[in-house]
Amino acid sequence: MTVDFKRTTTDVDILAEVVRDKSGMPELRIPVTPELDRIARMMADTYELTPNWIDSEASVQTALGLPEGVLERSEAVNYGDALTLYFPARVDLLALKLTAALSRGDRDIADIRILIEDKEEIKTAVGWCLAKRVSASRLCEILRRAGIEDPEGLLRELD
C-alpha cells in the first residue's frame, strides 16, 4: 500500500538517491548528487518556487537510515527517461515519520495519524524503530498522540 501526495504539496522531500553498480544492484546514497540541487534551484528561480521545492538535504526522516527493502516495496514513477522517483510504501513512511517525530515532535503527528491504518504495518514500523534503539517510552507517547489507545500493549505484542 502506497500513499499519495496531498493536493496542495509545496515540496518533494528526497530521502536518498539510488545508485546502481555495474550489475544493476541498487545502493542508497545520502545526500544526492549536487547537480540535482543546482538544477532544482534554477527552476525555483525561473518559476518563483520555494527554493527547496526539491528538498534534498539529508532529512531527519532518514537519521536512522531507511528500512531494509524500502526500494522493493516502493512505487516507481518515471518522469521521462532521465528521472525515476520511488514513493515508499505506507509501512516505510510510517517508520520514517515515527523516527522524525522522535526528534521534531508535533509537525509529524498529523501525518502519522493518516499513515496509521493497518495494525501489522504499525507493528512492523514500530519494531523497526525499536531495533534502532529509540526510546520506547517516547515512541509510546508519539503513538498515543497519533491515536493509538494502548501503545504499551502494542509494544508488548512485539516482545
Binding site: D4, T8, E17, I54, G80, Y86, R107, D111, I114
Partner: protein, 39 residues
C-alpha cells in the same frame, strides 16, 4: 501553493533539464514534506 499536477509538470521538466545537462538517469526515493500525505 502548488497542486499535484504542478509538481508532476515540474518533475517532468526537472527530468528534461537533467537529461540536457548530460546527467545519467537519476533515481530518487521521495516523499512529500510534513503534512502532505493523503490516501
Amino acid at each position: 501553493m502548488m497542486m499535484r499536477d504542478d509538481i508532476d509538470s515540474l518533475l517532468k521538466e526537472l527530468a528534461a533539464r537533467l537529461k540536457m545537462a548530460g546527467i545519467p538517469h537519476v533515481e530518487l526515493i521521495a516523499c512529500g514534506g510534513s503534512g502532505q500525505y493523503d490516501r
